[in-house]
């Protein structure tokens, strides 16, 4: 321990300038992160400074961490055979501990302090935020600190670190976009676990054995394997995982196939030969068995059609990642399918057997929260700390007799973005620097109260549909 402290103090002294810059930016982040209530109604130059400060912090702070952590690892570099410490009585355990102390002292503690300060100064209670704060730091360490430390442990100079980052960061950004946004936590978890495993293994191998070639192989193979898993992770596996991990309920939902009402008279089209028209089947699967005030949000549909002559048609799984909000899925799932011309005749000749799996998120409407105008911010379940005001904006169109009211709710380290039917996450926080999320509503009201409701995920379900005799002509809009 004494040796670790000794090495840590040496690193602190050597890297005092980059440490000071990193800490100064953390102060900028904390200073610009205090958000006044109903900020959008202010017309203040300070707001612009805040905005710029926060936007820049999103990039500058992680880059600063990567830089100082890489520098700290490379002050006693593990790669190479010319370092003076190799023939001095360094204990590898103390060396690793010294670098861990560096991370805690100059990354974790300052940011914890900054985020804790921001929670309090943004009128949120600190103690309920501690679990989110701790989880946030685990994520920040795995995603930003460990890869930087592992990269520095495998390279001999900062130039090599920088060169590697130029290649790795764009690749990581490309891979980070894969997956279904409604189940982002699944891909995020795989990515975080993968980064932790690859980074941790590289650091372990380098600090214990200093076999750089082996570590580079582990790093490269691990990164490629992780990217492959993220790209190839099946949607159905992710949904099944979410269904198992997410909230559960005794379900009794049923699906039925409902023909859509066709226009009574289709105007003749003189220009396009009907045989050449894009002929799609419109399947609408209605979900029954929902209690009042519950809804479903359609996430995916998988259909299989089998003709009596044995011809089988199974289009690819349709996923609806952009469908959010309560209105889109409440009446069921609509899917348009286009069978190939070669099998169309076989399918249309007589009734077919249709099987389907409908993947839905079951939503429940939370109880109404009534935020009184002009009162001090107050805590509301499922919403956070909320306040409401009557505020006028220039050029506002006003309805006589009604007042435009604005409500604002804040939460610390929420796993969701606080929108209706947020993407689900089983974790207490998501990867973000600023600890506070804000949701705002504007309502026209006659009473000095803003009433809010939210839809929360209740469960994630696969509802199976099976109909042995379906006439496809009922679902073909081109006929």
């Amino acid at each position: 321990m004494r040796q670790a402290v000794h090495i840590f103090l040496k690193d602190s002294r050597q890297l005092r300038v980059p440490i000071a810059i990193s800490l100064a930016w953390t102060v900028v982040f904390a200073g610009t992160g205090v958000l006044p209530w109903f900020m959008e109604f202010r017309n203040d130059a300070w707001d612009q400074i805040q905005y710029v400060g926060q936007r820049l912090s999103t990039y500058v702070i992680p880059i600063g961490w990567a830089l100082i952590v890489s520098l700290a690892v490379q002050t006693d570099a593990l790669a190479g055979d010319r370092q003076f410490w190799l023939t001095r009585p360094y204990s590898r355990g103390s060396l690793a501990l010294a670098k861990a102390m560096f991370v805690v002292a100059y990354v974790t503690l300052p940011m914890t302090l900054a985020q804790g300060t921001l929670v309090v100064l943004n009128d949120l209670p600190l103690s309920p935020s501690l679990i989110g704060l701790a989880f946030e730091h685990v994520l920040l360490t795995i995603v930003f600190v460990m890869p930087a430390a592992a990269l520095a442990a495998m390279t001999g100079s900062m130039a090599q670190v920088a060169l590697s980052l130029i290649v790795l960061v764009p690749a990581a950004m490309l891979v980070s976009d894969v997956g279904d946004p409604l189940m982002h936590w699944v891909w995020g978890t795989v990515a975080t676990l993968g980064l932790g495993m690859v980074g941790g293994t590289v650091l372990l191998v380098q600090f214990r054995h200093r076999t750089t070639a082996q570590s580079r192989l582990i790093g490269l193979a691990g990164s490629l394997a992780l990217a492959s898993v993220l790209v190839a992770l099946p949607w159905k596996t992710a949904f099944a995982l979410q269904s198992r991990v997410g909230p559960t309920r005794n379900e009794s939902l049923r699906a039925s196939l409902v023909p859509l009402a066709k226009p009574a008279v289709r105007p003749p089209n003189q220009l396009i030969d009907r045989r050449l028209m894009d002929r799609r089947l419109h399947f609408r699967f209605a979900i029954a068995g929902l209690p009042a005030d519950e809804y479903v949000q359609c996430q995916g549909v998988e259909v299989s059609v089998e003709a009596t002559d044995g011809t089988r048609w199974q289009p690819a799984l349709r996923v609806f990642p952009s469908y959010t909000g309560p209105s889109t899925g409440t009446e069921g799932c609509l899917v348009q399918l286009q069978p190939a011309e070669s099998i169309r005749e076989s399918l249309e000749s007589r009734p077919v057997h249709v099987r389907a799996s409908i993947y839905v998120t079951r939503l429940i409407r939370t109880q109404e929260s009534r935020i009184e105008v002009g009162k001090a911010p107050k805590h509301f379940a499922n919403l956070g700390v909320c306040a409401a005001r009557e505020l006028n904006q220039p050029n506002q169109i006003r309805v006589p007799g009604e007042t435009l009211l604005h409500a604002e709710c804040r939460r610390s380290f929420p796993a969701s973005l606080m929108a209706d039917a947020d993407p689900y996450s089983p974790f207490p926080a998501t990867l973000a620097l600023h600890p506070v999320r804000i949701k705002r509503w504007s309502v026209s009201s006659t009473a000095p109260v803003v009433a809010t409701q939210r839809l929360l995920e209740n469960s994630f379900l696969r509802v199976d549909f099976n109909a042995p005799e379906v006439n496809l002509a009922d679902f073909d809009f081109t006929k």
Binding site: Q3, K10, R82, F84, L86, T87
Partner: protein
């Protein structure tokens, strides 16, 4: 005497290149062992394997009785290592460098450290990066002597030093390392000769010989044979007579197994009784050159 450093069939390969091949080296306690050889002979690789900087590909090396692969902090507290190839923490001042290293060594002697800095005339408040190469080597040496190591390993310590600096460096070594076993890898033979007690000659990864300097000096002689007529080299030329040269009536060679009466008798047998024989002792440098040329010829 107990060997403080010993290698057994030590081999090191980098890809397909064999750098050390079945190396058998033994450095006895209390000796000053000069490991000499041409560039690329494998001296630095040997030292790096001994210091656990590189792992051997085959065989093993024992340092202070421990396998080099298991050398840890407790062993390095008794080992000093100075190398021209070492990256120093150049941002440190000499004073901070010494203060930083002190807690790593239980036997660190502050008084001795001060003496060494004074003796080497090192500016204590200057950063290592602002020192000349020679001064930096002296700082490294001072930091390696202040804890009285049992073994001091120096890898090409004289490279790039001007003559004055070399003298000061060697003076410092000789004066301050009385109780320390030294292993010095170098191709600066004049410097090695001035204070080494044992010499090992490394060539193409193999140790060609290893013996005390006095035995080595006794073993090698330059022999000049003057004849009545222009000589021709006899068909049965002894293998231990190296670098034969002829000019006018003179034959010169290096006898690598010199024994006065035996050498004279063999000369008489090969060249006749009229030959005049002059025998000259050789410097380490001349021995090294003769051996190196012979090896190159054989290769």
């Amino acid at each position: 005497m107990t060997p403080i450093v010993r290698t057994e069939n030590l081999g090191k390969r980098f890809g397909r290149t064999t750098v050390l091949d079945d190396l058998e080296l033994s450095v006895e306690e209390g000796s000053v062992y000069g490991l000499v050889g041409a560039n690329g002979a494998g001296k630095t690789t040997t030292v790096k394997v001994l210091m656990n900087i590189l792992e051997p590909s085959s065989g093993r090396a024992l340092v202070l009785g421990e396998d080099s692969r298991r050398l840890g902090p407790a062993h390095f507290q008794q080992i000093g290592y100075v190398s021209e190839n070492q990256d120093m923490p150049t941002w440190m001042t000499i004073d901070y460098f010494m203060a930083y290293l002190k807690p790593f060594y239980p036997t660190w002697d502050d008084g001795r450290a001060r003496e060494l800095l004074t003796q080497f005339e090192l500016p204590r408040d200057r950063k290592l990066k602002h020192l000349s190469r020679g001064m930096r080597m002296k700082a490294a040496l001072a930091s390696s002597l202040a804890y009285r190591p049992k073994l001091l390993v120096l890898d090409e310590p004289f490279s790039g030093l001007d003559p004055l600096m070399r003298d000061e460096f060697i003076e410092g070594l000789v004066e301050t390392a009385e109780d320390t076993t030294m292993l010095i890898s170098s191709h600066d033979l004049a410097e090695i000769e001035s204070f080494a007690t044992h010499i090992g000659f490394l060539n193409q990864g193999r140790l060609r010989f290893s013996q005390s300097l006095s035995a080595l000096s006794d073993r090698f002689r330059e022999v000049e044979v003057t004849l009545d007529a222009a000589p021709g080299l006899p068909a049965q030329w002894p293998a231990e007579w190296l670098r034969p040269e002829t000019s006018a009536r003179v034959v010169r060679f290096v006898d690598s197994e010199f024994d006065h009466s035996r050498t004279i008798a063999r000369v008489r047998r090969l060249f006749g009784d009229t030959a005049r024989v002059d025998v000259t002792p050789m410097s380490l440098r001349s021995i090294f050159v003769a051996l190196a040329r012979e090896s190159r010829k054989a290769a």
